[in-house]
């Protein structure tokens, strides 16, 4: 009863202070809105702008069993769009075209590298069957993975206008299926490769001399090298470490949201895309020097044997070891027999 006269007065006061509460009055933008609005928290557009600028998502709770659905707005999608449509295209374009340009220039200037002492006709085993089979398993899956991957970045602009939407969609669908399945032989091959070759690919002092001599690429002198020279070791570690990261990020993409949310998926795609582009560029150089760029190199991976002279020029230390080992193996029974006589 005492409060009664007070209430209408307070209400009247409120109406004066809060013009918003009065019906049919125009509403001001939230920025200069009265405290009543501010107390309700930032409005939709403020919140969206804030998340867009500061990162993060507007998230809540959903009643459906899909945790991704609880994200209402994720402005980071915009950044991922820029990455996918621009950044990755530029990285890939520069890496791949740049590498092709370098290789073409190198070919024009230096031509095909031939053994300076000619081919001897005698050969020595460089890679055994297991090593070659594993190499080609990785190589074959890598090529299909690379082409089907590049198609997702460049195909829409380069291939789609040429072959039309239906053919392009069919091709891309098969590409996706191949990409998913070939991930497994690729990963297996990387592991086997590591086990087979890690011992010969640990960096040592010879590598430093090799690098300082420019690998003999421009001079013509042949720096000494073991089974793998510093350049090949680099290719090995690019393949192993790059391959491991590409595989790991690839499995994240293949099993969507199994262990991560949309931000993790975007990050996986970024890691996967950038590393894959760089690996493709590196492998172009590897393919070039292993085939067109150097006479006598390809047979190492085809029938496993290389020419004696080639080996002497490019892997002198390895050849010495091999010869010594062959001599030991061949000489062992003889020297055993002759031990007393000598």
């Amino acid at each position: 009863m005492i409060a009664l006269p007070w209430r209408p007065a307070a209400l009247g006061l409120l109406l004066l202070v809060l013009p918003l509460a009065a019906p049919a009055q125009p509403v001001h933008p939230a920025q200069d809105g009265p405290p009543a609005l501010t107390a309700r928290g930032p409005d939709a557009s403020e919140l969206e702008l804030q998340r867009a600028l500061q990162g993060g998502r507007i998230e809540g709770r959903v009643t459906i069993p899909d945790r991704q659905a609880a994200s209402l707005v994720q402005p980071a999608g915009r950044d991922w769009r820029v990455f996918h449509n621009r950044t990755l295209v530029w990285i890939g374009g520069i890496a791949i075209l740049g590498m092709l340009a370098i290789l073409a220039a190198f070919y024009l200037i230096r031509g095909r590298i031939r053994p300076s002492s000619g081919l001897s006709g005698r050969t020595v085993l460089r890679f055994n069957l297991l090593e070659r089979a594993n190499h080609w398993m990785v190589a074959a899956s890598f090529i299909v993975l690379a082409l089907s991957g590049l198609n997702l970045t460049f195909g829409r602009h380069l291939l789609l206008p040429v072959i039309g939407p239906e053919a392009f969609a069919t091709l891309s669908l098969w590409g996706k299926i191949a990409h998913n399945f070939l991930a497994f032989p690729f990963t297996l091959g990387i592991v086997v490769m590591l086990l087979l070759w890690v011992r010969d690919n640990l960096p040592n002092r010879t590598d430093w001399a090799w690098v300082r001599a420019g690998g003999g690429f421009l001079g013509g002198a042949h720096p000494a090298a073991g089974r793998f020279n510093a350049g090949q070791k680099l290719v090995f570690w690019i393949t192993i470490l790059g391959g491991a990261l590409v595989a790991a990020s690839g499995y994240m993409l293949m099993f969507p949201f199994a262990v991560t949310d949309v931000a993790g998926m975007q990050l996986s795609h970024i890691v996967h895309g950038v590393l894959a582009m760089l690996m493709i560029a590196a492998m172009l150089a590897h393919i070039y020097i292993g085939s067109l760029g150097m006479e006598g190199a390809f047979s190492a991976m085809s029938n496993g044997r290389v020419d004696y002279n080639w080996a002497k020029e490019h892997h002198s230390l390895w050849l010495e070891e091999e010869v010594a080992r062959a001599g030991e193996a061949a000489g062992a029974p003889r020297s055993a027999k002759a031990a007393g006589a000598d």
Binding site: V27, G60, P75, R156, M254
Partner: protein, 198 residues
């Protein structure tokens, strides 16, 4: 031609999920796919709000921009649709979409993604309007029958509005002026790069 939009008035949404159910039923959307969902912000705390969200049919749609097979198209009413015969289920549209609208049946290898499915604004797809083929792939095409999306049509509190952007923005503006408050049009800044002036 109209510029079709959705607007969810969070002050009215009571999280009854009728829009979700209506959508599921109208288009026979399979289990595990949610073209529309209701997200509750600040659940149980001051400032709790529920917002019904689906594809917003964005201006300069991010999904269309990133799709590797370019299977999206925008209708004359600015509804963003896609062609499931071309979609390869790569999932890129989900990474780019601000609202998590694209959904994927788990039919690919290793339980991966099948062809993407999302809200069509009840406007079907590239097949012949209201054909059986269109219904099977995309659900019903109410827009071709002159009707608005069912979710908004049957919203009991009329929180969810669908229709021409100008008209629903006006309805929302009048509401805010009437009652004196409103938390804004959720997703509009992100999707349409503009917000209803109130």
């Amino acid at each position: 031609m109209a510029r079709m939009k959705f607007l969810c008035d969070a002050e009215r949404c009571i999280e009854c999920n009728a829009c979700v159910t209506a959508c599921k039923n109208e288009h026979q959307v399979p289990w595990g796919i949610n073209r529309r969902r209701v997200v509750t912000l600040n659940d149980g705390r001051p400032g709790e709000r529920s917002i019904s969200m689906a594809c917003m049919h964005c201006t300069d749609a991010p999904c269309a921009a990133v799709c590797p097979v370019a299977c999206f198209y925008t209708t004359a009413d600015h509804v963003v649709l896609h062609d499931k015969d071309l979609c390869i289920g790569c999932g890129y549209c989900f990474y780019a979409c601000p609202f998590g609208a694209p959904q994927y049946p788990r039919v690919g290898n290793f339980g991966g993604r099948g062809k993407m499915d999302k809200c069509t604004y009840c406007a079907g797809g590239p097949q012949q309007d209201n054909s059986h083929a269109e219904y099977l792939q995309y659900g019903s095409n109410r827009l071709a029958e002159g009707k608005l999306p069912l979710c908004a049509e049957m919203c009991s509190t009329k929180a969810l509005l669908a229709g021409d952007g100008e008209i629903i923005a006006t309805i929302y503006r009048e509401r805010v002026q009437q009652r004196g408050y409103g938390s804004g049009a959720w997703g509009w800044r992100t999707a349409y790069k503009e917000v209803p002036q109130v």
